[in-house]
Structure formats: C-alpha cells, structure tokens
Symmetry: D2
Subunit: 130 residues, 4 copies
C-alpha cells in the first residue's frame, strides 16, 4: 500500500450491495465523499459549517477505476492524498479491502471552491493542505 | 444537443439533493445506470435476466465531468451512445437540463461482461449494439 | 383500487433493489416522499421553495406495511390521500404494482410544519388540502 | 437510556442529509437495517450467507417515530432488542444522539423468514434469540 495522509476504515453495509451481491458503483462515490469530509474535519474544516458561511466545495470531475468489487461483510480502508493545482483541489482516493490489502477502487476527484455562487479561492479550504 | 441513440427524460427527486440544494454527485451515476438499463430493455436485454443466467455487466471505469448542477423541481434528459472497443462497452452519457438544454454532466462509462465470474464476450450483451 | 386524490406512476430502478432482488424497504420511503412532493407541486406548493422561506415539512411518524415486494423492470402506481388532524398532516400512501393492481405497500405518514425551527401552523402548507 | 442487547455506534455521513440539513427519513431505515445485520453477525448469522442458502429475512412492517433529527458531524448509538412473536421477529430499535443521549428515533420492525419463497420457521434465524 502506498503512503496516504488520511485513512478511514469502514465496513460495507448490505443495502449498498445490488442484486449482483457487490457494492453498487455509485456507492463508492459516497464512501469517497465521506472520507474527504472526515479528512477535512481532522483539519478543523467542516463541510457543513463552510456551507453555512457561503463556501461550497463542488466536485468538478471524477475518474474512477473499479478494480475489485467489494462485497457484504467486508471491511475496507478508504485512503486519501490531496494536492492543489491552480484553483482545483485534486484528491487521490484509493480503497483497499482490509483482509488482503487488495486495491478495489482507484480514483481522482477534482473539486473547487464556490463562494457565494462563484468559483473562488478559499483560504478556509486551503487549511486542508496544511 | 448532439445525436444520441437513446434518451430518457427524468425529474430530480428532492431526496437526491444534498444540503447545498444540488443533486449529490453520486446520484448522477444512478441516473446513468438507470438510463443504460432502460436502453438495454429497448434492445430486449434485461440486466436482471442476464444476471440470473450468470451474465453480469460490471462497470470497470467511469469518467464524469460535472458542468452545471441539477437542482430540485428540474427535468433532465439523460442521453446515451455506445460503442464496443475490444471487450469493453464504452457508453457516452450526457445529461441536459430540459428547460435550456444546458449540459449538466458529460461522462464515459466503460463496462465489461463477466460470465460465471470471468471476463468474457457476451453475444447477449452485444445485442445492444444492433 | 381505492379512490385517491393523487397518483404517480413510477418504475423500479435496478439500483433500488438489493441482493434479494427486491426493492430495499428504505426505498419505498423515497418513493413516498417523491410522491408527496409531486402532489404538493400540483397544488402550487414547492417543498424547496417553502424551505427557503423558513417553512420545513418534517416527518414525525411513519407506519409501513410491506405486502408484496416490488422487483426489477416493474412499474407501480404510488397513490395518496391526505387529511389534517390537529397540527398534523396525515398522508395515506399506497403503492400498487401496475400489471395486476396488487397492493405492495400500505403506509401512513404523519408530517408537521416547522416554521423557523418551531412547530407551527402553515397556511402555505394548508394549500395542499384545498 | 434503556437496556439493549446490542448497540452500534455510527456517525452521520453528509450525503445522508437533505436540503433541510437533517438526515433524510429513509436513511434511518438504512441505519436500522445495518444494525440488525451487524447484530446477526455477532450471533454467527450472516444475512447474505442465509440468502445464498435460500433463507431470506423480509421486513413485513415498520413503525417509526421521528423524535429529534440527526444532523451532520454527529455520532449516534443505534440500539436494538428483539423478541419472537409467532413467526415474526419483532425488533425494537432506538437511535440516540451520543453527545446528550437524546432519543432521535424509536422504531419497531417486524420481519419474517421466507424459505425458498415461502413464509417459514427458520432455526438458522432463531439463533439470534439465543
């Protein structure tokens, strides 16, 4: 496993699996969003608090490679790195099955700050890079 | 708007919006999955029927650009083209807001057939290309 | 089928089904919420618009009987009646499979108006009873 | 807080909140399902394993009282008791906010065993009562 600045251990919930018995592909985006928000909290940044102050984090682009499907009764580590490129925050997010450290999903998520409805720099969000 | 081989008109459901008042980014994957499955049905191919016969369609890669967020009380057209490249089915999926034909999401979804647990060619799925 | 003041025809989306191949029980609450909000719109009442003006509709109690499970590739009619009892709006919501008019779900949903954070009467919401 | 035979600590995920900033009412059913399945696992009973052997647990009735809404960045304890009444398993499920032990949701969930498509007794599921 590579080095990451943040890891969150989670478990598959049965309702997240579809009829094929594997986690539905949309739910990985939920896992990754939750991971980003929990990471932000460790930096003292609350997604909701920022929203109330008119600062929204908006996802602009997502690239997901599905490598190995997660199934029921399975734990996984949702891992994250982040880098700023221009106005974009680029999150590198990988999900590994705990039992064998197998890579399940590899993703890049690009987000931007929207302040009072307009694309903007946000010193508040830049806190996550510190 | 470009030419598409399939279009599905849908409406945003309020529970699909998050605290920012916009459709959560994961839900677009749900819209696009539903569009693919409805498209397959028009070709006489049922995702569920195939699953029962041991033929699963598995998403291998997704690339989504979020252009304009959808909001409550809004109708949209979920549009689709598809092409086969090697063993992959590549879906080109765009979502437009109905009221002004504004492009909301542009995505590429790559899927493969898994037959009895192994990557395989599936004449049944190839029906969608006819 | 009984008489209802509002009906909405919908189709099961495959991602709403779980590994048992039936619609997950939580998703019926989504169907019913969407039905209520669409009903409100026919009365000129937008859930989101009200929210922006400080008027929230909050569900206080739900009673659901699951009679026959909905499955993939199935259409259903989501039907609604409503009555006011004190400060509560009581919605009677039944879901029928289209193909044989079989009753799938029978529910009672009690909601109240919360205005600027406090339980209150809302003439705006009472519009739905007219 | 009352006595319970099983408790699961969870945290609200932001995508589970709707535009009102509170957890959408359907998501509590997800929390409660996950709690039941985790409880079953502590008794050596896997919902998915049983499904593969033709034994499905099907929810027949749900009664939910929403007392205090959960919001973002909040932890909660999902608590459970269970009793058998005839062929039904009756789960008493309460959700408390961790910070002040405030009762958020009080629910009764009735489930039955369906074996090879028919309502039946299931010694495998009865294991949860031991």
């Amino acid at each position: 496993m590579k080095d990451y600045i943040f890891k969150l251990r989670m478990a598959v919930r049965d309702y997240e699996c579809d009829i094929e018995g594997i986690v539905n592909n949309a739910n990985y985006l939920h896992y990754m969003e939750h991971t980003r928000h929990q990471f932000l909290l460790t930096k003292g940044v609350s997604f909701i608090e920022l929203h109330r102050r008119g600062i929204d984090t908006v996802v602009a682009r997502i690239n997901v490679q599905y490598k190995t499907p997660l199934t029921s009764d399975t734990e996984f580590d949702s891992c994250l790195n982040v880098r700023k490129e221009g106005v974009k925050y680029v999150f590198y997010q990988d999900i590994y099955r705990v039992e064998d450290e197998k890579l399940c999903v590899r993703a890049t998520v690009e987000a931007v700050a929207v302040v009072n409805g307009r694309l903007a720099e946000s010193p508040e969000l830049d806190m996550m890079l510190k």
